[in-house]
């Protein structure tokens, strides 16, 4: 039997939960959030949107199918080159796994990537706590080594998650600029085909729209309010007349660029079962989501309209320009992890690009 060290999860409000460490044995801190997805821990942990967060899985028994070898290309289950979350918190951990594609256990992977793993907690009690009190900061104490709380929403995180240099993917005729705010590889994979080239730009690169046929603003971590410096470039792009698509953080940034407000949700939407409906009509989709902030629909300027709403809490899930080829969505059409119901949005973007 493996021996697991005791560890403490200490919340900002003083609550303490006890568990066992199964990952990297070092204290850490961040924003405590929960995800209700039942599969997809490899995809989730490598999603840059979780940067600086301590991620709770509400699904109780995790690690069952292990972890595959890292992929360097855009298709595969690693959404970035490394684990982005600071800790993974479980009810029960499966050290032994069985899946043809897997090479190591979840615990070994966390250790290799210096990420904390915690199990043996009542994750439902923890989730209810966050649901009632709202998302909050927390720290995990291992070997009694205390660390300060860390609030990723008060930091400018983009340098941590964006590419340092421009990267070019594919060699198709249509050039799509991708503003990398912590982009997932599946977004790139979904944009790539034999007719497209994706130019992945660092968050602070100038958006020279005359050199591109369209723009995608990626998902990413943190409070969109922290990223005011990106807005002028986006505002400019939104006057180019060229197709622009925003995803998650990209959606919030687009909304802010056109003057709408964003606000912090009590505990965010993180899961693979978030229902959205087309604002006009009866068509609904199940979507993958991972965000703590949302766009306030009633602050949209008149030339924009709400495109999708969340069926559970009626929060905004997408906006679209009434005449120009710009739209953005709060959810993740690239899925990974999650359902593929809204992958057609990439097709819609291609259509705008006349592909």
């Amino acid at each position: 039997m493996n021996y697991y060290k005791n560890a403490l999860l200490v919340l900002e409000d003083g609550s303490v939960f006890e568990g066992f460490s199964f990952g990297y044995e070092s204290s850490t801190s961040g924003e405590l959030v929960f995800n209700t997805g039942m599969v997809g821990y490899v995809e989730a942990l490598t999603d840059p949107s979780y940067y600086g967060q301590l991620l709770i899985s509400t699904y109780p028994q995790v690690g069952n199918y292990g972890v595959p070898a890292a992929n360097s290309g855009m298709s595969g289950r690693y959404e970035s080159a490394r684990i982005q979350a600071r800790a993974f918190i479980l009810n029960s951990y499966s050290a032994q796994f069985d899946h043809w594609s897997s090479k190591r256990s979840l615990g070994d992977w966390l250790k290799d990537e210096k990420t904390v793993g915690l199990f043996g907690l009542d994750t439902r009690a923890l989730t209810r706590h966050l649901r009632d009190k709202g998302a909050m900061l927390a720290k995990i104490i291992i070997d009694e080594r205390d660390v300060p709380f860390y609030d990723p929403n008060k930091a400018f995180l983009l340098p941590e998650v964006s590419v340092e240099e421009k990267m070019i993917h594919g060699q198709g005729a249509k050039k799509i600029a991708l503003l990398d705010c912590g982009c997932k590889r599946s977004i790139i994979a979904n944009l790539l085909n034999d007719k497209t080239t994706v130019v992945q730009l660092p968050y602070n690169a100038p958006l020279e729209m005359d050199r591109y046929d369209g723009l995608v603003i990626s998902s990413g971590p943190g409070d969109p309010g922290q990223y005011q410096s990106l807005l002028p470039g986006i505002i400019k792009a939104l006057s180019s007349g060229k197709p622009v698509m925003g995803i998650c953080l990209g959606h919030q940034l687009m909304a802010r660029a056109v003057g709408a407000a964003t606000y912090k949700l009590k505990f965010g939407h993180r899961g693979q079962n978030q229902p959205v409906r087309e604002t006009s009509g009866n068509t609904c989709f199940v979507t993958s989501q991972n965000h703590g902030f949302a766009v306030q629909s009633d602050t949209l300027p008149p030339e924009w309209q709400s495109m999708y709403i969340n069926l559970n809490d009626e929060s905004n899930e997408g906006i679209i320009h009434k005449t120009e080829p710009y739209f953005s969505v709060q959810f993740h059409p690239e899925a990974a992890p999650g359902p593929h119901d809204t992958r057609f949005l990439f097709e819609r973007f291609f259509k705008l690009l006349q592909i």
Partner: protein, 1061 residues
């Protein structure tokens, strides 16, 4: 919304049978609720009188009539519904509906099918069409060919290469499906199959692939959801109804999960299902390759399971979608605040296990495969697979207290792993115990290693525990509890007592948390109390009610002898208590029930029905007492242990329950009250039993205590048999006394159901059996009011009933079985609980016995008028449903141990009418044009003579085996002789049965029980295998002959329940 229907006809699934059980009572009830909420008039056809859906508070009109095209058409003509729902009554309803669609009846009467269109159902039901439709969208379907003859099947198998999988379309529960290793096996299987179906499928063999299911819903706006996915622990090759199923899937990664989800949605959209459907996959364990196996465009056993596993009310939603609603227009009924358009997120693990009763049958094969044999199922919920599966094993109530700590002996472990049987899981345990590696076990069984690793952990804990020399410490005890070990299981492993382990837990403060199922993994608060226990929690999600609360124990898994009737009792108890102002808690774990619907009670604790669970429930939820007399034998058996644990039991005192259940105490009591009973003796030792038998004369009846449905009860005709049965009885019920008694032949058996308060009878019903004593009451045909019982007999029965009730201080339901011969009345059994016939007598007499029982138990006044038997001017007949066709090899004969899986109850102006309706409801067919008669002894031949003369008048063509033919000819019959099966000469009985040349077989067995491979057995088995009507009881034949001589189909009146008042 499209135009709303005004009157909807709903078809039920008739009697419970293997492959079609209680799940359809649940789905039908939900559908009716959904329609009622809309103010739509509902008409239900279902002869299953024990169901909740046929209660008077649900459908506006109920017809206790066969679900066949003939009767449904008659009801349509009478009721003139504008719409019909086919998806809620299993394959029976679907097939009947399709027949009415195809023969133009629906069109003729202008009846619209709500939900999925008939064409779409046909696409999914006809395998050839189905494959074609799926190929249109490049969805991979298992390579398969349709064969319409044996020769064709052989040809196709040649093309695919052996082994091949044979599947049968239009069949419930995959009847007769299976893997054929070679031409000979295929030939045999195909011949049998073509008796039930015009076509079979010969398919590529996907043995060892993972088997995965998704439940999908779609509305008319093309919005789709997958509500739940499920993974079978047993890989492909074993019917999903026979598999251990885990929800959600455990070994699929994100890509696997969403690939299959996407295919499911693509398929349902392409087919155009509106409502619910189930899709089954084979999934390659070594790649992302898949095959679609099957799509069921109706509510199914899996959808009932998925509803319970997730809290998403699939049947209710499907009914609403059928009316034209969109998913987004409906609310999530658990949260009340969020949308019904969402996919449940589970924060727990669910394990379903099938319950088999194979060991009740003689000669039956214990191997399980691609056709269904199980009679019920259990569902366990835990935070981990280990916690859930150990609970599930206990819930089966077949003896084992969990995966660990149980020793089964296997001669050949690899074989026991590779050839699945009802106890394969314990072969895995034994293999692990003997140190076989996970890889090797996987190699034999193909069970995914992840499951095996988890199971291995349990065996490691077992080893650590049994090596302990002192009580386990707090940490280890918690580890055990989290892994699903029960107190009793721990006690068994260390050789201690359950109460001792409970003491240790109490000392350490280790108690389970009560967790809620809320469909959204705690993201939104739930308004319903759908709960389970887990030791993985630090807090409970709910608190005790402020108001007075009563706990009601449900029936547990359906099994032979305990079925939907107890669900009816439990649900009705809850309804009455709520009316009386109590808060109610239901404890049950059967996913096929209405009682496990989270809105039937104020709280539903979906967990084990055990002393431990009840004690923990009382600790936290603080009910004022528990009712254990309405859920059948399982709760009843807890009377003494619960009393010892200090739990307040409502109703009849537990001491009385013990006096009735304990054969010795009960027999003594009868003696002291001067109530006659068959001569009896308690078993001290085998020799004294043998002496008793010699003195009183054979046959004698061997009866263990505290058993259900006559388990291990047997009639011994001689000393050798007696010794064997005594051994069995002692093994089955070692803690309780076994009694032997004189077995009386040619006596009538009478059923007495009653409700008492403080020992005073409030209401009673007396029903007589058609069959003479010796046929288990659950297998007997019941008549109410009695037609052939002397008034004096009835008077005596009433007096004895009152005496017993008084002496046992009964408060609540009770049931007594009597033998009657020439006004001599003997008591053979008494149950101080609701019986199987409670719903039947309640519905026939139009007085809810359970409602009265619940009021009596709560010491409320019972003021309303109670009807008496003599006021009824119609007759009710309850008939058993057998599932012998599915139980390969089982001898289809009636005895003292119960064998039927379900029942129906029908009404008529007289016995003959009700009787014929009941027979037609359980699958008998009219007209009968030819019959094979094969009767054992000369006495039985003579006794049959009168019946045969009656049959002769209706122009029936007779075939008979040699002796019977000779006898019949001598009595003036024109009869053709057929050779015995073992004679291997033509013309042979077996050929005639197989080729459908006889409509009916009468075979009266010579002995009560015989184990050799006899001619009689082969004839009976052939009748079961080839679906030919079989009669093995003389009284039944006689009544059939009489009925047919006075009635034809046209004489059977189409009347609703309401018109019999």
């Amino acid at each position: 919304m499209s135009q709303k229907p005004g009157k909807v006809l709903i078809l039920g699934s008739a009697a419970l049978k293997i492959g079609e059980a209680g799940e359809f009572d649940y789905s039908g009830s939900q559908a009716i609720k959904a329609l009622r909420e809309e103010g739509i008039h509902t008409v239900l056809i279902n002869p299953n009188i024990a169901t909740i859906q046929t209660s008077d508070h649900l459908a506006d009109q109920v017809y206790f009539l066969p679900v066949t095209a003939y009767f449904v058409e008659k009801v349509i003509a009478r009721e003139k519904p504008d719409s019909i729902m086919l998806a809620f009554g299993g394959q029976t309803a679907l097939n009947t509906g399709l027949e009415l669609y195809k023969n133009g009846v629906l069109e003729k009467y202008n009846v619209r099918i709500l939900g999925t269109a008939a064409e779409v159902i046909l696409d999914t039901e006809d395998r050839d069409l189905f494959v074609k439709r799926l190929r249109e969208i490049d969805v991979k379907v298992a390579r398969s060919y349709v064969a319409e003859s044996v020769a064709e099947a052989l040809d196709m198998a040649g093309r695919i290469g052996y082994p091949v999988m044979v599947r049968i379309a239009f069949a419930l529960g995959g009847l007769g499906s299976g893997i054929c290793a070679d031409e000979k096996a295929l030939k045999e299987k195909a011949e049998k199959a073509f008796n039930h179906t015009p076509q079979i499928l010969v398919e590529e063999n996907l043995w060892g692939w993972k088997e995965i299911e998704y439940e999908v819903v779609r509305d008319r706006f093309n919005n789709c959801l997958t509500i739940c996915n499920m993974e079978n622990l047993d890989p492909m090759g074993i019917h999903t109804g026979e598999s251990i199923v885990v929800a959600p899937s455990q070994t699929l990664d994100n890509q696997d999960y969403h690939l299959l989800r996407e295919v499911a949605i693509k398929v349902i959209q392409h087919l155009g299902v509106v409502g619910e459907c189930n899709i089954q996959y084979a999934y390659d364990p070594h790649s992302r390759d898949y095959r679609v196996i099957e799509v069921n465009a109706r509510l199914s056993r899996s959808s009932a399971l998925a509803s319970k596993a997730t809290g998403y009310p699939l049947a209710f939603v499907a009914a609403k979608l059928g009316l034209g609603y969109g998913l987004h227009q409906l609310r999530n009924s658990v949260t009340q605040s969020t949308s019904a358009f969402f996919e449940p997120a589970l924060d727990y693990v669910v394990v379903k296990m099938p319950r088999w009763d194979l060991r009740k049958f003689r000669k039956v094969s214990y191997s399980i495969g691609s056709s269904m044999k199980s009679v019920g199922e259990v569902m366990a919920i835990g935070k981990t697979f280990e916690e859930a599966i150990q609970k599930a094993i206990r819930m089966l109530e077949t003896g084992p207290l969990g995966f660990a700590g149980e020793s089964f002996s296997f001669d050949d472990i690899p074989r026991a792993l590779s050839i699945p049987t009802d106890i394969r899981l314990f072969a895995v345990a034994e293999a692990l115990r003997r140190g076989m590696s996970v890889d090797e076990i996987h190699g034999h069984s193909f069970i995914n290693r992840w499951f095996l690793y988890r199971l291995k952990g349990l065996i490691q804990l077992e080893r650590e525990l049994s090596a302990l020399e002192k009580p386990p410490g707090k940490d280890f005890l918690l580890q055990l509890k989290r892994a699903g070990f029960s107190d009793k299981q721990i006690a068994r492993i260390i050789g201690g007592k359950e109460a001792e382990v409970r003491d240790w837990r109490e000392q350490h403060g280790l108690f389970p948390s009560i967790k809620q199922i809320d469909t959204l993994a705690a993201e939104y608060p739930a308004q319903t109390n759908y709960l389970y226990f887990s030791y993985h929690g630090q807090e409970s999600d709910v608190d005790a009610f402020e108001e007075e609360t009563v706990l009601i124990l449900g029936s547990g898994s359906y099994r032979i002898g305990s079925s939907v009737e107890f669900d009816w009792c439990a649900v009705n108890t809850g309804r009455t208590l709520r009316k009386l102002g109590y808060k109610t808690i239901m404890l049950n774990y059967n996913p096929e029930t209405v009682s496990t619907d989270y809105d039937e009670f104020d709280m539903l604790l979906f967990d084990e029905i055990s002393t431990e669970a009840v004690v923990e429930l009382f600790r936290q939820l603080k009910p004022s007492g528990v009712i254990l007399s309405v859920g059948g034998q399982i709760p009843n058996n807890l009377a003494v242990p619960l009393k010892e644990a200090g739990i307040p039991i409502l109703g009849t005192p537990p001491e009385s329950i013990d006096r009735a259940e304990n054969r010795r105490h009960f027999s003594h009591m009868l003696d002291s009250l001067g109530i006659d009973q068959p001569l009896w003796q308690e078993l001290d030792n085998v020799d004294s039993a043998v002496k008793f038998a010699r003195d009183t004369g054979y046959p004698v009846l061997v009866r263990p205590s505290y058993v259900l449905s006559g388990a291990a009860m047997a009639v011994a005709a001689n000393e050798a048999e007696l010794r064997t049965y005594l051994q069995k009885a002692v093994e089955l019920s070692p803690d309780h006394p076994t009694v032997i008694s004189k077995f009386y032949q040619n006596a009538k058996e009478i059923e007495y159901d009653a409700v008492a308060r403080n020992g005073e009878i409030i209401i009673y019903a007396i029903s007589e059996h058609v069959e003479n004593a010796g046929v288990h009451s659950g297998d007997a045909t019941l008549v109410l009011p009695p037609q052939r019982t002397y008034l004096e007999t009835i008077r005596r029965i009433r007096r004895i009933g009152q005496k017993i009730a008084k002496n046992l201080k009964i408060t609540g339901p009770m049931n007594i079985q009597f033998l009657a011969k020439n006004n001599q009345v003997k008591v053979i059994e008494c149950n101080v609980r609701a019986s199987r016939s409670f719903p039947f007598v309640s519905k026939i007499m139009r007085k809810n016995f359970i409602d009265l029982a619940a009021r009596a138990i709560m010491h409320r006044d019972i003021s309303s008028q109670v009807p008496t038997l003599f006021e009824l001017d119609y007759v009710g007949v309850k008939a058993p449903q057998f599932s012998f066709t599915r139980l390969e090899g089982a001898d289809p004969v009636l005895g003292v141990e119960m064998a039927s899986t379900g029942e129906v109850g029908c009404l008529g102006e007289d016995f003959n009418e009700a009787f014929l309706k009941a027979l037609l409801s359980v699958g008998y067919r009219l007209p009968i044009k030819s019959m094979l008669v094969s009767s054992g002894s000369i006495e039985s031949k003579a006794e049959l003579l009168e019946s045969l003369h009656l049959f002769k008048k209706s122009g029936i063509q007779f075939f008979a085996t040699e002796g019977t033919a000779k006898f019949m000819r001598a009595n003036g019959f024109n009869v053709q002789t057929l050779h015995w099966p073992l004679e291997k000469k033509k013309p042979n009985c077996i050929d005639y049965i197989r080729d459908g040349m006889v409509d009916m077989v009468i075979n009266i067995p010579k002995n009560f029980q015989q184990d050799e491979l006899s001619n009689g057995y082969l004839i009976r088995r052939a009748a079961a295998d080839y679906n030919v009507m079989l009669f093995t009881n003389r009284q039944l034949v006689q009544r059939l002959a009489e009925a047919l001589s006075t009635k034809t189909m046209e004489d059977l009146k189409i009347e609703s329940w309401e018109s019999y008042r």
